[in-house]
C-alpha cells in the first residue's frame, strides 16, 4: 500500500534507518573484515547492498508521495511577484 498510515510509515522508516545504521557502522564492519583476503570485494558488496536498501526506501517514500519533488510541495514558499506598475482610479466622482 502506498497510503500513508502507521504501518507502512513504520516499515518505510525501518527500511531507511537500517541501511543508514549499517553504513554508519561501516568502519566497524570493515575492521571485522580485516582478516579476510577478499576484503575489498566484500566491503563493496556490503556497501552496494545497503545502498540498494536505502534506494528502495527512497523509492517507497517517493511512491508514497513523501518526497518534496513536485512544484506543489514548494508552493508555500513562492513569494508574490513584485509589482512593476502602480494604478488606481475609478468612476469619476
Amino acid at each position: 500500500g502506498n497510503t500513508i498510515s502507521i504501518f507502512p510509515a513504520m516499515m518505510v522508516c525501518m527500511m531507511g534507518w537500517r541501511p543508514l545504521q549499517a553504513l554508519m557502522s561501516l568502519s566497524a564492519t570493515l575492521k571485522a573484515l580485516e582478516s579476510s583476503s577478499r576484503r575489498a570485494l566484500q566491503g563493496l558488496v556490503f556497501l552496494v547492498g545497503n545502498g540498494l536498501g536505502l534506494a528502495l526506501a527512497l523509492y517507497k517514500c517517493q511512491a508514497m508521495g513523501l518526497l518534496p519533488t513536485r512544484p506543489s510541495d514548494w508552493l508555500a514558499f513562492v513569494t508574490p511577484p513584485q509589482r512593476m506598475e502602480f494604478t488606481g482610479g475609478g468612476l469619476i466622482l
Binding site: 508521495g65 513536485r70 512544484p71 506543489s72 510541495d73 508552493l75 508555500a76 513562492v78 508574490p80 511577484p81 513584485q82 509589482r83 512593476m84 506598475e85 502602480f86 494604478t87 488606481g88 482610479g89 475609478g90 468612476l91 469619476i92 466622482l93
Partner: protein
C-alpha cells in the same frame, strides 16, 4: 458562523436609527413616555422619551414609494400617508401595530387633515390634486370622494376644518385668484364655491395660514401688508398694512405665516407668527377684524406652538449672543464653497441657545421657563423645534423640547437645560467608512521605538532595552494592582468605559477606530468593540448629495507622527472639491494644510510611496488631467519624478461610456495611453471595481489532484467593469462583464449574460470575480464566478508587469442559483491571506450570510473524480442554499443594508465586519474557525492539574527509585 447563546453581544453590537425627522408628535402630558416620529428615511417609529431608545419602528421601502407625506396624530393612533398619497395607514402608537391600511386613488398628494364634528373627530380628509376624499378613522373606509372643480388650472393646497361640519379647501391660480370650496362633511356636497382675486400671491404653502374662526391670512411682502379673508363669508381680501405696527419685511425673503389649531374640533388660535426675515419673527393677533402686535422676536432661530389643556404657548429658540450671517468662525477647508448658502445661514457665535415660552394671548414671557443648551463649537445649527408642554401640579406650565440640528442630531431637553438624551440620526446614512488601528500605549510605543531607531552602540541598546522592560514591568504591576483593587469591589461597580483618553490597541488589534462619513457631512469616530462614539465633527459646507472619498494617509504605526486621514468632498452641482485632513483617533483637524483645489477633482490615487513623515502620497487628478500631489514636499516630488514612469491611472466616465487610462509624466502632467468606449445607446457602465490595495494573497496557486500547481493570475491592475443594457425588455436585457487591465487597457475577458438584469452586486478579489444578477428568463437570482489562472507554469515569478504579459490567462466560469435577492456583498479579508475566504452577503431580510468561497468555485466538477476528491472539490450543484446557521448576525437584522465593510485584525483567523444601512452592526468572523486562539471554554484547570500532577509524580518516583537503589546497594 452562528454564535452560541452565551456569545450573544460579546463581540457584536447593533445600533438602530430612524433618520432625519420629517414629522414628530409629542404628547402633551407630563407622564407621556413616547414620541412618535416619521422620517426622511421612510420610517415610522416611537421613541422612548425618557431614554431615546426606539420603542418600535416600521421601515418602509427606501425608494420614493415609501416616502411619508403626512403624519397626523389622533389619540393613540398615528395616521400616515405614504407613497405620494397612495397609501393611508393607521398605527397603534403604544405597541406599533397596524390598525388598518387602505390604498387611495392616484393623484399628486397635497395635504391631509383630521376632520372633526363638534363632538368627536371621526374622519381624515386627504386632498389630492383633483379630488378630496374622506375616510373613517376607525377602519379607513372611504366615506366619500369628490372631484375638485377646475383642478387643471387651480392648485388646491390648503385643507381646513374646525368641527363645524364643513371642510374648506383653498386652491390657488398663481398670480390670479384663490378658489375657496366648502364641502359638507356628511355627503361631500360642495355647499359654497368662492373666487377671491389675489394677483399678488404665488403660492399658498407657508405664505398663508388659517387663524381664528376660519380666517385666511396671507403675507404680501411686496405691498408690505397682510391680506385677510374669511373662508366662511363671501368677501374680498382685506388689506392690512403692517407699517403701522412698525414691522418691516426683509428683502429677498419669502415671508411666512405660522398658525396653530389646538384641536380639530375647535377654531384656530387667533394668534400667529409672522416670519419677516430669517431671524425675525413677530407674534400677531387677528381678532374681530383687528390686527394687533403682541411681541417681536428679533433674534429668534426657530419658533413653535404647543397646547396643553386650555393653554397655548409659543416657544422661541434664540441665540444667547447675537446671530450672525455667514460662518466666519466655522472651520472649513474649502472657503470657495461657502457663499451660496449665505442667505439663510445665521450662526450663533458661541453656540449657546435659549428656549423661552410665551403665553400666546398676551405675548408675556412665562417665568422660569428658560432652557439653555449649548451645541458644539463650529457645529450645526438647530433646524427644527418640537415642544411638549404640560401643566404641573401647581398649574404652572412645564415643558420639554425636542431639537433637531442641521447635522441630524436629535436632542431632548428638559428644564433648565438638561439634555435628557440625544441621538445621532445622521448615522442612518453612512456613505464611507474606514477602520484605523488604535495607537499604542506609551509602554508599547517605547518598545516599538526601540526597533525603529538606528543602533547607537551595544551598551546604549542594552540600557534602552532595560529601561523599556522596566516600563513594561511598571505597567504590568499597575495593571495587577488595578485588578486586585477591582476584585474587592462588587462586580456591578466596575466600569470598563472606553473614552478617548484610555484608548489603546489591544493585544491582537481586534479593537479599532471606525471613521464614518455620513451624507449630512458629519464625521464620526466610533470605537469598534463597543460602538461608543468617541468624537464627531460636522463639516458645515457639505451640501446634500456630495460625493465623498475617505483615505488613510498615515496609519498609527509611525509613532510619534499622528495618524492622518483625508476626506475628499466633491459637490455635485458646482463640481468643486475640498480636502479635509484630520486625525482619525481624536477627530481633530490636522495642522497640515491641504492644497487649495482650484479645479474640480475627478479622482484620487493613494500611492504606496511615503514622504519623510511617513504620510502616503495622495495624487489628485483634476478635470484638465493635471495631477496635484499631497503632501507636496521636495522629497515627495523627487520620489515622484523617479517613479513617475510606473504610475498609471484610469478614469471611468459612466455618462459618456468612456474608460480611459493615463500615464504620469515627470512634470506631473499626464498623457492618455488608452481609451475604451462603451456605447451608451446600448449599455451603460454601472460598476467598476479594482482590487483592495491592502489585500494579501498567501498562496500563488492551487494544488491539483495530481500534485501539479495551477498558478493564479494575480494581476494587481485588473479592473472588473459591469455594464447593464439600456433596453430593459425582459427578452433583450443583458449585462456585460469586462475584465480589463488598468495599465494597458487590454480587455482580458469579456462576457455578456443575456436575459439578465441588474442591480448587479460584485466582489473582485485575488484572482476571482463574483457577481450577482437577476435572470429574467428563469426569474431567479444567480451568481456567476469567474476565476483566472495562468496555467501550470508561471510566466514571470519575480516581477509582475502589465506591459509584458504575452499569454492571456485562462478564465474559468460557473453559475449558481441563489434563492434570495441581495442588498450588499463583500469578501472577508485577513492580515496575511492564509485563512480561507468567505463572501458576506447582505440579504434584504436584514441577515448577513457568510458563504464559503469554496462553494462558488468554477472548478467544482459535475462528475466527481479521484483527482477532484483529492483536491477537496465539492461536486457541482446549481443551487446555493441559505442556511440560517450561516447568518453571522443571528437575530440582529440590519434594516435597509447598503454596504458591508471588512477589515483585517491582528489575528490571522479573524476578520472584522461592519454592516451599515439604516442600522449599524459590527462583529467578527472566523472563516477558518479560530485556529490561532484557544477556545473560550478551553480547560486550563484540567490541563495544568494534569501537568502539575505529572511533574509531581516524576519527582516522587525519582525519589522512590533513589531509595530503592540505595537499599539494593546495602544488600
Amino acid at each position: 458562523a452562528a454564535v452560541y447563546e452565551d456569545q450573544v453581544g460579546k463581540f457584536d453590537w447593533r445600533q438602530q436609527y430612524v433618520g432625519k425627522l420629517k414629522f414628530a408628535s409629542l404628547e402633551a402630558s407630563q407622564g407621556s413616555k413616547k414620541l412618535v416620529v416619521a422620517t426622511e428615511e421612510n420610517v415610522v417609529a416611537a421613541l422612548n422619551s425618557r431614554s431615546g431608545e426606539i420603542l418600535w419602528r416600521h421601515v418602509d421601502k427606501g425608494t420614493p414609494e415609501g416616502a411619508i407625506d403626512a403624519m397626523l396624530i389622533h389619540g393613540q393612533d398615528a395616521i400616515t400617508v405614504s407613497n405620494a398619497g397612495r397609501i393611508l395607514r393607521s398605527w397603534e402608537t403604544n405597541i406599533g401595530g397596524l390598525n388598518w391600511e387602505t390604498s387611495l386613488d392616484t393623484g399628486s398628494f397635497q395635504g391631509a387633515a383630521l376632520v372633526g364634528l363638534p363632538e368627536a373627530v371621526k374622519y381624515v380628509a386627504v386632498l389630492k390634486k383633483a379630488a378630496l376624499s374622506l375616510h373613517y378613522l376607525s377602519n379607513g373606509h372611504q366615506k366619500w370622494v369628490e372631484h375638485l372643480p377646475e383642478s387643471e388650472s387651480t392648485q388646491y393646497q390648503l385643507l381646513y376644518s374646525r368641527g363645524t361640519g364643513v371642510i374648506h379647501v383653498v386652491g390657488i391660480v398663481p398670480q390670479s385668484h384663490l378658489n375657496i370650496l366648502t364641502f359638507n362633511v356628511e355627503d361631500g356636497e360642495i355647499t359654497k364655491q368662492v373666487r377671491v382675486a389675489a394677483p399678488w400671491l404665488g403660492a399658498l404653502r407657508g405664505c398663508c395660514g388659517v387663524v381664528g374662526e376660519a380666517v385666511l391670512v396671507c403675507a404680501d411682502a411686496a405691498a408690505r401688508a397682510l391680506r385677510v379673508c374669511a373662508l366662511d363669508t363671501e368677501q374680498d381680501m382685506r388689506h392690512v398694512p403692517l407699517q403701522s405696527l412698525e414691522l418691516e419685511f426683509a428683502d429677498d425673503f419669502q415671508a411666512r405665516i405660522l398658525a396653530t389649531q389646538p384641536s380639530v374640533t375647535g377654531a384656530s388660535r387667533t394668534q400667529f407668527f409672522l416670519q419677516l426675515s430669517p431671524s425675525h419673527f413677530s407674534l400677531l393677533q387677528y381678532k374681530q377684524g383687528l390686527l394687533s402686535h403682541l411681541r417681536d422676536f428679533q433674534q429668534a432661530a426657530l419658533v413653535s406652538f404647543a397646547t396643553t389643556g386650555e393653554k397655548t404657548v409659543a416657544a422661541v429658540l434664540t441665540c444667547r449672543s447675537e446671530l450672525k450671517p455667514g460662518s466666519s468662525d466655522s472651520l472649513h477647508a474649502g472657503s470657495t464653497l461657502e457663499n451660496t448658502r449665505r442667505q439663510d445661514s445665521l450662526t450663533c457665535s458661541n453656540q449657546t441657545y435659549n428656549i423661552n415660552l410665551y403665553l400666546v394671548e398676551t405675548g408675556q414671557r412665562l417665568l422660569d421657563t428658560t432652557i439653555t443648551f449649548s451645541l458644539e463649537q463650529g457645529g450645526a445649527r438647530p433646524q427644527q423645534l418640537y415642544i411638549q408642554v404640560f401643566l404641573k401640579k401647581d398649574d404652572s406650565v412645564g415643558y420639554r423640547a425636542l431639537v433637531q440640528t442641521e447635522d441630524h442630531m436629535l436632542m431632548f431637553l428638559q428644564q433648565p437645560g438638561k439634555v435628557v438624551w440625544s441621538r445621532e440620526e445622521s448615522l442612518a446614512e453612512v456613505v464611507s467608512l474606514e477602520m484605523v488601528d488604535l495607537p499604542l500605549t506609551g509602554a508599547q510605543a517605547e518598545l516599538e521605538g526601540e526597533f525603529g531607531k538606528k543602533a547607537d552602540g551595544l551598551l546604549g541598546m542594552f540600557l534602552k532595552r532595560l529601561s523599556s522592560q522596566l516600563i513594561l514591568l511598571q505597567a504590568w504591576t499597575a495593571h495587577l494592582w488595578k485588578m486586585f483593587y477591582d476584585a474587592r469591589k462588587p462586580r456591578s461597580q466596575i466600569k470598563n468605559e472606553i473614552n478617548i483618553d484610555n484608548l489603546a490597541r489591544d493585544e491582537f488589534n481586534l479593537q479599532k477606530m471606525m471613521v464614518m462619513v455620513t451624507a449630512s457631512g458629519k464625521l464620526f469616530g466610533i470605537e469598534s468593540s463597543s460602538g461608543t462614539i468617541l468624537w464627531k465633527q460636522y463639516l458645515r459646507n457639505v451640501k446634500p448629495g456630495s460625493s465623498f472619498k475617505l483615505m488613510v494617509q498615515r496609519t498609527t504605526a509611525h509613532f510619534p507622527h499622528p495618524p492622518q486621514c483625508t476626506l475628499l468632498v466633491k459637490d455635485k452641482e458646482t463640481k468643486m472639491s475640498f480636502l479635509y485632513v484630520f486625525n482619525p483617533i481624536f477627530g481633530k483637524r490636522s495642522q497640515v494644510a491641504p492644497p487649495v483645489l482650484k479645479r474640480p477633482i475627478l479622482q484620487t490615487l493613494l500611492l504606496p510611496i511615503m514622504d519623510q513623515d511617513y504620510a502616503k502620497v495622495l495624487l489628485l487628478i483634476d478635470d484638465e488631467y493635471k495631477v496635484t500631489p499631497f503632501p507636496a514636499t521636495k522629497n515627495v516630488l523627487r520620489q515622484l519624478e523617479e517613479i513617475a514612469h510606473s504610475i498609471y491611472f484610469y478614469l471611468v466616465d459612466a455618462e459618456q461610456g468612456k474608460l480611459s487610462g493615463f500615464r504620469l509624466k515627470k512634470d506631473l502632467s499626464t498623457e492618455e495611453s488608452w481609451e475604451v468606449a462603451i456605447p451608451t445607446e446600448v449599455q451603460r457602465i454601472v460598476a467598476v471595481k479594482g482590487k483592495r490595495s491592502n489585500e494579501h494573497v498567501h498562496s500563488q496557486g492551487r494544488v491539483m489532484g495530481d500534485r501539479s500547481v495551477l498558478y493564479k493570475s494575480l494581476n494587481p491592475n485588473l479592473l472588473a467593469v459591469v455594464t447593464e443594457s439600456t433596453d430593459t425588455h425582459h427578452e433583450r436585457t443583458f449585462i456585460g462583464i469586462y475584465l480589463m487591465d488598468g495599465v494597458t487597457g487590454r480587455i482580458i475577458h469579456s462576457s455578456v449574460q443575456k436575459k439578465a438584469k441588474g442591480p448587479v452586486h460584485m466582489v473582485h478579489s485575488e484572482n476571482w470575480v463574483v457577481y450577482q444578477y437577476w435572470n429574467t428568463k428563469a426569474r431567479r437570482n444567480e451568481f456567476t464566478v469567474l476565476e483566472l489562472y495562468e496555467g501550470t507554469e508561471q510566466y514571470n515569478a519575480t516581477a509582475f508587469s502589465s506591459l509584458d504579459r504575452p499569454i492571456l490567462p485562462q478564465v474559468l466560469q460557473q453559475s449558481y442559483i441563489f434563492p434570495s435577492a441581495i442588498s450588499a456583498m463583500e469578501a472577508t479579508i485577513t492580515e496575511r491571506g492564509i485563512t480561507s475566504r468567505h463572501l458576506l452577503i447582505g440579504l434584504p431580510s436584514g441577515a448577513i450570510l457568510s458563504l464559503p468561497k469554496a462553494l462558488l468555485d468554477p472548478r467544482r466538477p459535475e462528475i466527481p473524480t479521484e483527482q477532484s476528491r483529492e483536491e477537496n472539490l465539492i461536486p457541482y450543484s446549481p443551487d446555493v442554499q441559505i442556511h440560517a446557521e450561516r447568518f453571522i448576525n443571528y437575530n440582529q437584522t440590519i434594516s435597509r443594508m447598503r454596504g458591508i465593510y471588512t477589515a483585517p485584525s491582528g489575528l490571522e483567523s479573524t476578520c472584522l465586519v461592519v454592516a451599515y444601512g439604516l442600522d449599524i452592526f459590527q462583529t467578527r468572523v472566523y472563516p477558518s474557525k479560530q485556529f490561532d486562539v484557544l477556545k473560550d471554554d478551553y480547560d486550563y484547570v484540567l490541563i495544568s492539574s494534569v501537568l502539575f500532577g505529572l511533574v509531581f509524580a516524576t519527582m516522587i518516583t525519582k525519589r522512590l527509585a533513589q531509595v530503592k537503589l540505595l537499599n539494593r546497594a546495602w544488600r
